[in-house]
């Protein structure tokens, strides 16, 4: 089975293989197998639909982490024109786990910031698997401040397992970097739109995710701790990650039902990695529409709404 398929997609992969075989047979032997191929295709379509209509939280977690899933730069290439990447935190280093820069979207100049994972081993290491160090967050803060000064909205794309848990990151103030990012975003006088495109991993995700509008792709996840981490603490076994994923309501569907997500962006059948162009188009439209609406508000109204939104998170009871 090819790496493109996850365990639960086995029936899809098998049908896909048969189709390829038939295609090969038909071209080498001049047999007309088009009818068979078409019928297999429609069977495959139905079976994919069936499988994807009832995915569990753990299956969605795997999709969100899919090695072929489109990453920030894949989106930037398709949805931003004239993108110019800006590097570095001006203090210590440039963190390749976060990409940032300026570009144009829907006739608007925007600042765009996102976590970036790597596609192959070398790139994965360079991008640190999308786990930022403090300098990544400080770079993000710098670009956000710049966007504020020059009246550009900020678009962030979230896709990280979490902030990097390393000795160097702690030495350089990982906590401070995340906390300050939260504060910069809570007070930034320009609209901020965030899209969780893959993994929304804890504080490392939220550090570029405080916003006026939060959107999530259909098969993305967002959680306070990884299912593995939660399972190893509460169930005393990382193997219970599927249970933890279910209990923590990490999926877009659940989070949207809980009112934590403002808009869901539908993915192509089989997931975003099956059609980069289609998902990019959907993401672009969702961002542009959101910015259209947010840019209508004055800064004062925008800041007031954001304050109400942020301080309104969480339900509790009032006793007596």
């Amino acid at each position: 089975m090819s790496l493109d398929y996850l365990d639960f997609e086995k029936p899809i992969a098998e049908l896909e293989e048969k189709i390829v075989e038939l295609q090969r047979a038909s071209s080498s032997s001049n047999l007309d197998l088009e009818r068979e191929i078409n019928s297999l295709r429609s069977r495959n379509h139905e079976s994919t639909k069936a499988i994807f209509s009832k995915l569990g939280a753990w299956q969605i977690t795997q999709l969100a982490r899919h090695p072929r899933r489109p990453y920030t730069l894949d989106y930037i290439e398709r949805i931003v024109t004239d993108f110019q990447e800006l590097h570095g935190d001006r203090m210590f280093a440039d963190d390749p786990a976060i990409v940032s820069g300026l570009g144009k979207m829907g006739g608007r100049n925007v600042a765009i910031i996102g976590h970036q994972k790597g596609r192959d081993t070398k790139e994965r290491t360079r991008r640190n698997f999308g786990m930022p160090r403090p300098e990544g967050y400080r770079k993000a803060q710098r670009i956000m401040r710049l966007a504020e000064r020059f009246h550009m909205p900020v678009v962030t794309l979230i896709d990280t397992p979490g902030a990097y848990p390393g000795v160097d990151a702690e030495e350089r103030g990982q906590s401070e970097a995340i906390a300050t990012s939260l504060e910069v975003m809570a007070t930034l006088k320009t609209p901020i739109v965030s899209v969780v495109i893959g993994e929304g991993g804890s504080g490392g995700a939220l550090a570029i995710g405080v916003c006026d509008k939060l959107m999530m792709l259909e098969y993305a996840t967002y959680s306070v701790i990884s299912p593995e981490g939660c399972a190893s603490i509460l169930w005393k076994s990382a193997a219970k990650a599927p249970e933890a994923a279910e209990a923590m309501k990490v999926t877009t569907k659940d989070l949207s039902r809980l009112g934590l997500v403002d808009e869901v962006i539908k993915e192509p059948l089989g997931g975003a990695h099956r059609d980069y162009d289609a998902i990019s188009e959907a993401v672009k439209n969702a961002i542009n529409q959101s910015l259209d609406a947010l840019c209508e508000d004055s800064n004062e109204v925008l800041m007031d709404k954001r304050y109400q939104r942020l301080t309104g998170f969480g339900q509790f009871e009032l006793k007596k």
Binding site: G166, G173, A179, E183, L206, L258, R306, L310, F316
Partner: protein, 287 residues
Amino acid sequence: MNWFERILPPKVKTTGRGGKKGVPEGVWNNCSSCQAVLYAVELTHSLQVCPKCNHHMRMGAKERLSSFLDDDSMVPIAESVGSLDVLKFKDQKKYKDRLADAKKSSQSSEALLAASGSVKGVNVTVTAFEFKFMGGSMGAVVGERFVQAANHSFENHQPMICFSASGGARMQEALFSLMQMAKTTAAISRLRANSIPFFSVLTDPTMGGVSASLAMLGDVIISEPHALVGFAGPRVIEQTVRETLPDGFQRAEFLLEHGAVDMIVDRREMRDSIAALLEKMGFGPND
């Protein structure tokens, strides 16, 4: 364990640890660092700091508030804010049951207590985390109580001080707990915009989502000696980098050296230190 216990084989012991016959429980305590046997009353008087080795033992939120504020000045804030199990979260145990157990074992209504009062005559709002309540974890109640305390500071233009002691976000409240980082940050930013001081005091331990939000946003950040403070827990880091961590890693002294905190202050001098800083920032005692 003291030297005597170390020599004495455990099977010979007939009474419980430290429990001599005829002596009521709780009269004597051991220092959790040097193991010195300490008279409980003396320990309360020294604010849970060992008089022998100066080790700062963990202090509960109630004791923290009452010992920090001037006598008879304390007025509780946001006490009526209580937890709801929105997600019906269940791991090996129901979250609801965990909450009930935590209330009992910690003798605290939640993981954060808030109060208004004065310190050396200066009106302040104070919040303190209760580590015994589910590891001082931050959920919706902690976030809301913190915001209400910040609102009190805002309305009365009085400084806010927060004593942190937390393992981080409360997993049982999932994404709601993560969002408390943004919520508390927003409240602090409003104090900042209005030049109302927010002091963060880091006590052992301050980790994860609490460290990466409100605790690191103080206008002044003070740490108690030797407190463990960081984003990722030492075990997680060890598993990631696959090496043992250096001595003193993520301790208050390490943070001071790396520029993450302003000062390390002995708990017994905390009131004086904070009142003196506030006075310089224009918040002196009331007439």
